[in-house]
C-alpha cells in the first residue's frame, strides 16, 4: 500500500475473502465477520515474529552473552524457560499474548505492556498531528488538482505528490531541521518539549501522556507554546509523507465522480464547475479516503519510527531502536506484536466506519 498505485474505489473489499459467501445480512453481521478476521491476521504475525526472533537463539544470550559467566547465563536461561522445546515456548507465548501479557523486557525489566503504554502516547500524539497535517494539505490540493485537471496546477501538484513519496522522512526531517532550526532559528531542533516543560509535565497528577492536552488542562500556556513549537517539525515531516498519498487519492476519486451521470446532469442544468467539484463530487470521493486512511496507518507507523529517530521524539519507534541496539529482543518482539494488534484493530475500526457511511460496503 505504500506504492503509488491508486487504490480503486473498492480496494478494501478485496481484503475480505468472506464477502461473496455471506448473503444479505445487516451491519451487525458485517461487523462480527470483520471482527473475527482480525484474529488470523494477528495470529499469523505473532507466529511469524516469534519464530523469526528465535531462529537467532534465545533472547538472554543475545542480550547478555559475553557479559555474564556461562554458568550464570545458563542459570538465567533456565529460569526464563528458554531451554525448553521451542513449540512448548511458542504455545506458552501465544497463551500469554491472548491474555494480554507480552513479557518483561530484559534490559530494564519492565512489563512490555506498561512500556508500550508509556511511550505509545507520544507516538499517538505524533501520528494524530501528522494526520491533521496530511488532511489539511492533501484534501484541498487534491481538489485543486482535480478541478484544474491536466492544466499547469495539476501537473505541479502531481509532481509535488510524487516528491512527497520520493523523499525519505528522515531526509525531509533533516531539511526542515536545517532550514527552520539551524538557519532561521525559529523552531527547536529535537525532542518533545524543553527540559522545563518535561519536568512540569512529569509533576502532573494524572497525566494523559499527550503533552499538549496535559499542558492545556493544567493551564500552563508557556508549556503549551513550548510543546506546540516542538511538534511542528515532526508533524510536518511525517504529515507530508501521507499528504502526497491523500492528494493523489482525492484527485483520482474526484475525477472519477466528476464523470458520473448525476454530475453530468448537474452540469447540463448549468451548475458551475466550481460548485460541481466542491458540492457534488467532493463528498462521495471522500469515502475511499477513509478506507485508505486505515491502510495508511501501517505507513504512518513505519514513518513514525524514522521520524522519531530523526527528532529524538521519545515514542515507541525511538524506543524500539534503543532496544534493538541493546539487543533486547523480548522488548522488540513485544513492541512489534503490539503494533500488529494496533494495525489490526485500526483496520477493523476503519472498515466499520466505512460501512456506517456507505451502505454499499456492507453485504
Amino acid at each position: 500500500m505504500t506504492t503509488l498505485t491508486e487504490a480503486p474505489l473498492n480496494d478494501a473489499d478485496g481484503l475480505l475473502p468472506s464477502k461473496k459467501k455471506s448473503t444479505g445480512g445487516g451491519l451487525g453481521t458485517y461487523i462480527l465477520i470483520r471482527f473475527f478476521l482480525i484474529i488470523p491476521t494477528i495470529f499469523i504475525l505473532v507466529t511469524l515474529v516469534f519464530f523469526l526472533m528465535r531462529v537467532i537463539g534465545d533472547p538472554i544470550t543475545a542480550a547478555q552473552g559475553g557479559r555474564l559467566p556461562p554458568e550464570a547465563l545458563a542459570q538465567r536461561i533456565h529460569e526464563a524457560g528458554y531451554d525448553r522445546p521451542i513449540l512448548v515456548q511458542y504455545f506458552e507465548y501465544v497463551g500469554q499474548v491472548a491474555t494480554g501479557n507480552f513479557g518483561t523486557t530484559i534490559t530494564d525489566r519492565r512489563p512490555v505492556v506498561e512500556m508500550v503504554l508509556t511511550f505509545g502516547t507520544a507516538t499517538l500524539e505524533l501520528a494524530i498531528n501528522a494526520l491533521i497535517v496530511a488532511l489539511l494539505v492533501g484534501i484541498p490540493l487534491g481538489l485543486i488538482a482535480a478541478y484544474r485537471r491536466d492544466k499547469a496546477p495539476d501537473a505541479v501538484l502531481r509532481f509535488f505528490a510524487i516528491l512527497c513519496y520520493a523523499t525519505p522522512v528522515f531526509f525531509a526531517g533533516l531539511l526542515m531541521k536545517l532550514t527552520f532550526s539551524a538557519w532561521l532559528g525559529w523552531l527547536p531542533v529535537a525532542g518533545r518539549a524543553s527540559t522545563r516543560t518535561e519536568l512540569a509535565m512529569g509533576s502532573l497528577a494524572a497525566p494523559s501522556g499527550i503533552y499538549w492536552l496535559d499542558a492545556l488542562r493544567s493551564g500552563n500556556m508557556a508549556a503549551y507554546g513550548d510543546v506546540v513549537s516542538h511538534s511542528i517539525l515532526p508533524a510536518a515531516t511525517l504529515g507530508l509523507l501521507t499528504a502526497g498519498v491523500f492528494l493523489r487519492l482525492v484527485r483520482t476519486n474526484v475525477i472519477g465522480t466528476l464523470g458520473k451521470d448525476y454530475v453530468e446532469a448537474g452540469r447540463s442544468r448549468g451548475v458551475s464547475n466550481y460548485r460541481l467539484v466542491t458540492k457534488h463530487a467532493y463528498k462521495p470521493a471522500l469515502i475511499p479516503i477513509i478506507t485508505v486512511m486505515g491502510l495508511q496507518i501501517a505507513l504512518l507507523l513505519g514513518g513514525a519510527v524514522l521520524t522519531e529517530s530523526t527528532f529524538e521524539w521519545k515514542g515507541l519507534g525511538y524506543q524500539l531502536v534503543q532496544y534493538l541496539n541493546s539487543r533486547d529482543f523480548v522488548a522488540v518482539q513485544g513492541i512489534v506484536v503490539m503494533l500488529a494488534v494496533i494495525v489490526g484493530v485500526t483496520n477493523f475500526i476503519v472498515d466499520v466506519v466505512a460501512a456506517l457511511i456507505d451502505p454499499r460496503v456492507r453485504y
Partner: protein
C-alpha cells in the same frame, strides 16, 4: 493512435519493447514525465556502473598522499562536496552509494519476483487449502508496517550489521519479504483469471501437464504487468534500504557506502548547521526514487487507455499536441458512457 494497433499488424520488435512502445504512445506532459524519469534513472545506472571511475576516492578512504582528510570540511576543490565527521569524502560516498543501491535493488527485486511469481502461479492454479493459507499469510504481511518487518528480518539474517555481500543479502532478503506478497497477489489474480480462458482448457484437454500449462500458457500472460510493479518496487527498495541504513541496520560504512547510513550520521550535523553531509546523499535518494517512480507512473498511465493522453485522431501521424491530452480525457469518458 497507431493505426497498426487497430489493424493488428505486428510492429518491429523494437517498437514493441516496454519502455519504447510507451514512449511512442505518449504525448505532452506524460511524455515529459516519462523522459524526465528515464533521464534520472539512466543517470543513476551510469553512476552505479562507473562509480570506480567517477569517484575521486574510495568509499572508506580516510587519507591520500597529502595526508589524512580533515573532518567536517565544507565543500572545497579537494573535496567538492566536503567531508563528514568521520573524515570521509562526501562526493565519493554518494557515488559509491549508487552502486550499493543498484545491487540491492537487483537482488531484492529478483528474489521477490521469483518467489512471488512461483507462489502466485501455484496458489492461483491449484487453489484449495494452499491458496487460502498463502492468501491469509500474504494479507497479514501486507497489512503490517513494512519497515518493521524489514528490521526484524535484517536482525535475523545478519544480527544487525555485516560485510558488503552479507549486508547486501540481508537487506535484500529483508526487502523481498515485504515485496513477495505484492507480486503474489498480482500473479495469483491473473492466474485465476487466465485459468478459465479457453486456451488453457484446450491445453488441459490435449493432456498437457500442470507444470507445462503454468510455465508456458499462464506464466507469459500473467507477467505482463511486472515492468510496472518492478519500477515501483525498485523505488520502494531504495527507500527501505535507506530506512534500514538510517536506523543502523544496514551495511557497515567500511564495507560499502550507503546513503541512509550517511544521513543517520548527518542528522547530528544538521543541528549545528552543517548541511553538506546530509543534503547530498539525501538528494541522491530523492532523485533516484523520483526517476524510477516517474517511469513507473508513466507506464501505469500509458497502460490504461482512460488515463492516456491522446494524439489528435484526425491528424493521424501529427506530432505530439499538448492540448490533445486535455481534450481527449472527457471524450474518452463520453465514449465509455
Amino acid at each position: 493512435m497507431n493505426a497498426s494497433a487497430v489493424s493488428g499488424r505486428k510492429q518491429p520488435l523494437m517498437y514493441r519493447l516496454p519502455v519504447i512502445s510507451h514512449f511512442r504512445s505518449s504525448v505532452g506532459l506524460q511524455r515529459g514525465m516519462l523522459v524526465t524519469g528515464l533521464v534520472l534513472t539512466l543517470g543513476f545506472l551510469l553512476t552505479a556502473a562507473f562509480a570506480p571511475i567517477i569517484a575521486p576516492y574510495g568509499f572508506a578512504q580516510l587519507s591520500d598522499a597529502a595526508g589524512p582528510f580533515p573532518a567536517q570540511q565544507p565543500p572545497s576543490p579537494a573535496h567538492i562536496w566536503g567531508t563528514t565527521v568521520g573524515g570521509y569524502d562526501v562526493f565519493s560516498r554518494v557515488i559509491w552509494g549508487a552502486q550499493t543501491a543498484f545491487v540491492v535493488i537487483v537482488v531484492a527485486v529478483a528474489m521477490s519476483i521469483f518467489l512471488g511469481v512461483v507462489l502466485g502461479l501455484l496458489s492461483g492454479y491449484f487453489g484449495g487449502w494452499l491458496d487460502r493459507t498463502l492468501v491469509v499469510i500474504a494479507d497479514a504481511i501486507y497489512a503490517f508496517p513494512s519497515l518493521l518487518l524489514a528490521i526484524v528480518m535484517s536482525i535475523v539474517i545478519s544480527h544487525g550489521q555485516s560485510s558488503f555481500w552479507g549486508g547486501i543479502v540481508a537487506c535484500s532478503v529483508a526487502i523481498s519479504v515485504v515485496f513477495v506478497p505484492q507480486y503474489f497477489r498480482v500473479i495469483r489474480a491473473e492466474t485465476i483469471r487466465l485459468k478459465a480462458e479457453p486456451y488453457v482448457e484446450s491445453a488441459k484437454v490435449v493432456g498437457a501437464s500442470s507444470a507445462r500449462i503454468m510455465g508456458r500458457h499462464i506464466f507469459k500472460n500473467a507477467t505482463r504487468t511486472l515492468p510496472l510493479i518492478f519500477t515501483l518496487n525498485a523505488s520502494e527498495a531504495i527507500l527501505t534500504l535507506a530506512g534500514l541504513g538510517f536506523l543502523g541496520f544496514g551495511i557497515e560504512p567500511t564495507s560499502a557506502a550507503e546513503w541512509g547510513f550517511d544521513l543517520n550520521k548527518a542528522i547530528a550535523d544538521a543541528s549545528s548547521g552543517i548541511w553538506w553531509t546530509g543534503v547530498y546523499p539525501g538528494m541522491a535518494i530523492v532523485l533516484t526514487v523520483l526517476g524510477l517512480t516517474l517511469v513507473g507512473e508513466s507506464i501505469n498511465d500509458l497502460n490504461d487507455p482512460r488515463l492516456r493522453g491522446r494524439k489528435k485522431a484526425a491528424a493521424g501521424k501529427g506530432g505530439p499536441d499538448s492540448t490533445a491530452g486535455a481534450q481527449a480525457a472527457p471524450e474518452a469518458e463520453a465514449r465509455v458512457l
